[in-house]
């Protein structure tokens, strides 16, 4: 048995022994632990699983031991992740500090920044939020305006960030700020680490069309940030952010399969319009459902083809550039069809008279609207295809 194989056997045994059975089921909405100084647990099993993984250094298994990580190389990290997936272990905690800013600090951070921020982050003591989007800088992120004016002690920050997940529980924010008004828009941006307890910060949670959410708007009024909290070069924040967004894509793909599946299209419509032998009685809806199931099917096949192309070292961009658009639009149309099939029963807001599934359909329908907005809107996806795949002129 080679060393990696021995490691795998050990990992499997440890996970079997230490991951409570209730932590080996798909997490429901809001059932993942957000780590940070204000960490909260919904069950004893959650706390146990959290503490055991933390003490093992496996919140950040790939970080160096002296920075609070597990000291594993990429191959060993992959073994750990594979085994956790295979055994259906939930991630013990969620923290943008570990998936996003941590790797960036390992690459671009000063020694002082690494020592100050990484060990407590790896132990779950610092929870992070991301300050990128602004009310007037969404799809066009580089037009962001939150200003950071330099003085002897550091920076004075004024402005606002929006769509900041969990800002109301976070200890620190990594934020993109405008440090030079004169430069071309990508060139005048810096990245700062901002203590959320600083005077002058106000956090307001945002209610969405679907109800309560983890999104917040954060206001900055003459907030002081020390010079040592600048990440990378002054005015070099755009390059750091691009690197960070690569980590985001990796993290997103890791978490994509984690979520509990929502209401399923065929099941919902079949129950709403039951015909004989499991058929959907309404011919128009049945045709629509078949079309949508087919779109989801070709999408899965394309995902599979992309994986095969990548393995064969073929250029995947032509195919991969279509996925976000296709997934978002199909998901939205499926949600619309479920609501339509349920009729007014699919448009209830609170429990009286509506089943949990019906309310879930309603929430999912509203939530799905964000799929073609967040993370690069559908229009941006089409722009990317038109320009970078098809080579259509500016």
């Amino acid at each position: 048995m080679d060393e990696l194989q021995i490691f795998r056997t050990g990992v499997t045994a440890w996970l079997e022994a230490n991951c409570p059975p209730s932590m080996r089921t798909p997490p429901g909405d809001g059932e993942l632990v957000m780590s940070g100084s204000q960490v909260e647990f919904q069950s004893e099993d959650q706390r146990l699983w959290y503490e055991r993984m933390r003490d093992k250094g496996w919140f950040a298994p790939g970080w160096p031991l002296d920075l609070g990580g597990g000291g594993l190389d990429a191959a060993h990290v992959r073994v750990l992740e594979t085994e956790m997936t295979r055994l259906h272990c939930r991630p013990p905690q969620i923290n943008l500090g570990i998936w996003m800013i941590g790797p960036v600090l390992l690459e671009f951070g000063t020694d002082e920044q690494k020592q100050t921020f990484l060990p407590p982050t790896a132990r779950g003591k610092i929870g992070w939020c991301q300050g990128f989007s602004e009310p007037n800088a969404g799809s066009d992120l580089a037009s962001l305006k939150m200003s950071a004016v330099q003085d002897e002690a550091g920076f004075v920050v004024n402005g606002s960030k929006i769509w900041t997940s969990h800002a109301n529980h976070a200890d620190y924010m990594y934020a993109l700020v405008r440090s030079d008004n004169q430069a071309a828009k990508q060139q005048g941006i810096s990245m700062l680490l901002i203590d959320m307890k600083s005077p002058g910060i106000e956090v307001r949670p945002i209610d969405l069309i679907s109800g309560k959410s983890h999104f917040c708007q954060v206001f900055f009024d003459n907030v002081r940030v020390p010079a040592k909290n600048l990440v990378g070069a002054l005015h070099g924040g755009w390059g750091v952010a691009k690197r960070l967004l690569q980590h985001e894509r990796t993290a997103m793909s890791k978490f994509a399969e984690l979520n509990m599946p929502g209401p399923d299209l065929v099941g919902v419509v079949r129950r709403a319009c039951a015909g004989s032998e499991g058929r959907i009685a309404n011919a128009v809806l049945r045709d629509k459902v078949a079309g949508l199931e087919m779109e989801a099917h070709v999408q899965r096949l394309t995902q599979q083809r992309i994986v095969e192309m990548a393995k064969a070292r073929q250029d995947v961009f032509r195919a991969a550039a279509t996925m976000k658009y296709q997934m978002a639009e199909t998901e939205k149309r499926s949600a619309e069809t479920m609501v339509a099939a349920l009729g007014l029963q699919g448009l209830g807001w609170e429990s009286e008279g509506f089943s949990p599934e019906e309310l879930e359909v309603t929430r999912q329908w509203l939530n799905a609207k964000s799929l073609s907005i967040a993370g690069g809107s559908s229009e941006i996806q089409l722009n990317i295809i038109a320009k970078r795949v098809l080579g259509l002129p500016e």
Partner: protein, 379 residues
Amino acid sequence: MAMLFDSEQQLLADTARDFFAQHAPPAALRKLRDSKDELGYAPELWRQMIDLGWSAIVFPEAHGGLDFGYKGLGAVFEQAGRNLSATPLLGTVALGGSAVMLGGTEAQQAQWLPGIIAGESLFALALDENPRHDPSATVMSAHAGGDGYILDGEKSFVVDGGIADRLVVVARTAGTPGSSDGLSLFVVEAGSPGVRRQRRNMVDSRNMAAIRFDQVAVPAAALLGQAGQGAALLDAVLDRARVCLAAEMLGVAGWLFDTTVAYLKERIQFDVAIGSFQALQHRAALMHVALEMSRSAVLAALTAIDENSPQLPALASLAKAKLSETLELVSNEAVQMHGGIGMTDELDVGLYLKRARVQQQLLGDASFHRDRYASLLGF
């Protein structure tokens, strides 16, 4: 499931791309159309394809085939579609040949496959009796008589029906129209007494015929498979042909799309290339998304045939439905984005538009296959 072409399949695709572009471009179809060619295809082109081994690709080595699989055949179909090349490939290989291979006894295969492979015999599948594809609607009857069966009925829209020397005929030995029970398949000599064929001139210049069978006597040995149990065999044959047709449609859609994107880059209005307008860019991008999804569907379905996957029926319907939708979108956008010139017969776009619509209807349109897909998935 490996969806990508392997190196041999890729080589075949490259060879087919060059071959059809050189020997059977759209101009060749135009010539057949304008000269009102009786055959509707060029025998010398078919001869060259035979020499390249393309009639042999899917058939077993025991009968002179290459046993190379439908994925290879699909690669040829895509390139034929890209050039609108008129060939007997669909009727003779994908439909007729598949029927003999899947339904024929050793003796029947030995009797017919070598002729197909050598280019001595052309086949067609005489199935539909109505303008819209519907195998279970078959009315044509076959009853015991003479030393075999007597066939009586009428088939409309038989692809390659006018040029085939043998027809695989679907007839009812039992059951009532609307049910797939009681169907049987027979191989009938096209020259048999009582067979009358009439050419149908279609919008796409594809070879099509209406065929009347008037008390046509066939020997017992003409029956493929079990009498009355033909529905499963027919499904297997149709699914192979549907997937090949979807591959051909992918070629048609690919040409229309590439041609249109090129035009968006070169056509100047208001002093700029019209491809710089976002209204057109997004519509072009939508076509690209549809085409990538379509390619995945075709590759998955071709692979399913070669792997003998139980998923084939659903994947065949998926491919045929998706390609029908994609082709309708891309062909309409091609005409629209070319503007006035897109309405002219001089431009090849019109030929592709017309071929597209015929392909969409053949072997079931998108709504037929959505219905079938839903039934296969149990809803």
